[in-house]
Symmetry: D2
Subunit: 116 residues, 4 copies
């Protein structure tokens, strides 16, 4: 499956349920935030070491995968509604970030805010 | 470019800058939430009609694309760090949602919370 | 009860449970975001009219009150940990916003982003 | 200043600018999430030790205070619009949390998710 396939599947899912009118940009952005909130619950309290350990167990990985899936689903649905090419937008952003954060200047430092 | 290509590019980007140690699950989840906050700014005040109009102009579309790109970037980076297959997770979720929201029962209604 | 009383009660609550070491700024900020995500669930799908109606029923009001309480609790706890005077900070912000958004210039318009 | 004074001041601020119609529950909840996103930026990358140090300098404290002020402002404005008594709601929540997390059972542990 590709992102384009996922977008098509979500479009069909919404159409079959006549949910398109709920899928406004505002509602989808809110939904994205709801799901990111649920994802954050999984990293709310533990130390980095505890979280690494827990999130790599089968149960931990499955639980966070489900939240990440929800985030991706709403993001892809929003992109489809707004006719945004997500992969192209991400690719442009990486190119811009490479200029903004030259490897030789920022190596090992988070003083300049590290984009991934 | 595919999601797998994007993940590989982000892995290289972080490695070249020695940023891997900042890319803990907690920090990446927080970064995801920061970017979703920036995306929400674009839908903060207008009515659905105003937002539809604004987000479909070239400037509006470009602005929200950049925020969506940032969300995708952190999501893909987090998935790569946690070795989660995002597309497989999304596909499983859609299958589960199809059972949870049978088209014939939920058609046209948001009483049962519409997943996309 | 005042905000200062609430802060004192939360401090005691954490101390009795020896939870202070979990209450780092990062964890409390993440918790705040988790609770805001839960609050957003209550405004995720309906139109403004539907939400106004639902949130003013006793059940609707109670449900959203609980989420708002959680947001306030984490915000006050974070302020207490960081020794921030929330009411003073809010008062300064309003003074700054009054300069930034002169009533005569922004009346009735959200072109300049309306702060409350 | 009390929370009630703050609510009254925000009500006047919105009235003078004829912004009441923008202050729907959905828009205010989205605004709250936008501000929490900005607050999260301040805890995005550092370790707990680095953050503690930075957020306790005058500059660090001032910066995060401003974001916390914005969060409080939108929360109080939303409560005012929905006629929710925030302090009473928080007080009820603490009472419920005291039952849910008995000190003797949860002491020193985040296994049961620590509410503050």
């Amino acid at each position: 499956m590709s992102l384009a396939d996922l977008a098509a599947e979500l479009r069909r899912f919404a159409a079959e349920r006549e949910w398109e009118r709920f899928h406004t940009p505002k509602n989808l952005a809110v939904s994205l935030a709801v799901e990111v909130g649920e994802l954050l619950e999984h990293v709310q309290w533990g130390s980095d070491e505890e979280l690494e350990a827990r999130l790599r167990t089968p149960d931990g990985q499955r639980a966070i995968s489900e939240e990440m899936a929800d985030v991706l689903i709403y993001l892809v649905r929003l992109a489809d509604v707004l006719e945004v090419d997500l992969l192209e937008a991400a690719s442009s952003k990486i190119t811009a970030n490479a200029v903004r954060y030259p490897a030789d200047e920022v190596r090992g430092s988070s003083a300049k805010r590290p984009a991934p």
